[in-house]
Symmetry: C2
Subunit: 212 residues, 2 copies
């Protein structure tokens, strides 16, 4: 449940030059801008100077609140991962409440909602390649999340809720492929909201496209 770290720590954040002609911004706003910039230019290519310039503040003002771009990356990945992990906890995946197919459906629907609600944060997470300790730690948590969803797929398979002719490993990967692709093409504000997208995705995954 680490998803709200950034919000909990939010501090009032004023421009370094002391001018008050713009509204003060908080850590969440800084994080939003950092994530947008990382997604646009790549994390490696983004410096604290670039972030300060885009925020209309000074490097020293930024350093007063965060230790560096590493901390921004860490907080951003923590937010995406925390929200996804919270879905898994809420599903009762660990205490095995209800049948596995129901829990799986709950997790898929929740994952789509998180993707939509935290689109830039999850986009960043999905692009992480493991070049730094922070990224490697995020990859480890992402693999752990994937692994726990795969276990749900296996449990649903074992209880007979999922088709016996499909291999659970392949099934899990195709599911993740479909869900993760949402960050590539979905843009909020269109005709389909998060709930409708979650319904459509889960429905395609479980029931397929063919008319019956």
């Amino acid at each position: 449940m680490t998803g709200n770290t950034a919000a909990a720590d939010a501090a009032t954040f004023r421009k370094g030059n002391g001018r008050t002609d713009r509204a003060p911004y908080d850590l969440d706003a800084v994080l939003d801008l950092a994530v947008a910039t990382f997604n646009e230019r790549g994390y490696e290519a983004t410096s604290i100077s670039v972030l300060a310039e885009r925020l209309g503040t000074s490097k020293s003002a930024l350093y007063y609140h965060v230790s560096g771009k590493e901390e921004l990356l860490q907080r951003a990945l923590d937010r995406a991962l925390g929200e996804l992990e919270a879905v898994l906890e809420a599903s009762g995946a660990d205490d095995h409440r209800g049948d596995a197919a129901d829990r799986l459906e709950f997790v898929l629907r929740g994952a789509v909602r998180v993707l939509v609600a935290e689109l830039p944060y999850v986009t960043l997470l999905l692009r992480v390649r493991g070049n730094t300790d922070i990224e490697r730690d995020a990859l480890r948590r992402r693999r752990e999340f994937d692994h726990r969803v795969s276990q749900l797929v296996e449990a649903a398979h074992a209880e007979g809720s999922l088709r016996a002719d499909l291999d659970p490993g392949t099934t899990s990967r195709l599911l993740f492929g479909m869900i993760n692709s949402i960050v590539e093409w979905y843009r909020p504000g269109g005709p389909m909201d998060a709930a409708a997208l979650a319904d459509a995705t889960v429905s395609v995954a479980l029931d397929g496209l063919r008319a019956r």
Copy 2:
């Protein structure tokens, strides 16, 4: 049907220093190595010098056969796109033979087979972001391919073969998401061959995961 340009043009290709201690290599081998390097380091970050070094040859020997890394990129993208377009042609998508659902299934199965057979080439294609004319042209052809598959989804929808409660646009995107993800996780040589993977993917897409 531009997929075999590289093979058709294949020329015997000897090391620039005239040594014969390694087997001669042809344009296909050069292209394979270029594509692997582009995928590993990024196209921008790859120079002809790096390619020459990895091939154990000289820049001038490489330039004798290709005009530059642009030509290698062009040939690589053309190979991936040509193979995908050939599937669409073979499906009869344009002359409307058979019902649309059958043609769609043929195209999905064919696309998976191309992804597996040309894994590094399709990986490169899916990473193209449109920084150069060559990349923009490839993006245009990729969008045209996607558009024609979407039209097939719409036709299958209109003829009543696909579920009426799903929007064809969203359906197409989820389908592409699932299929394109294959380049991220599938590695040849495992327990599942291309035909089995194509069967599993089409089966999940059309019939879903739920046991009936």
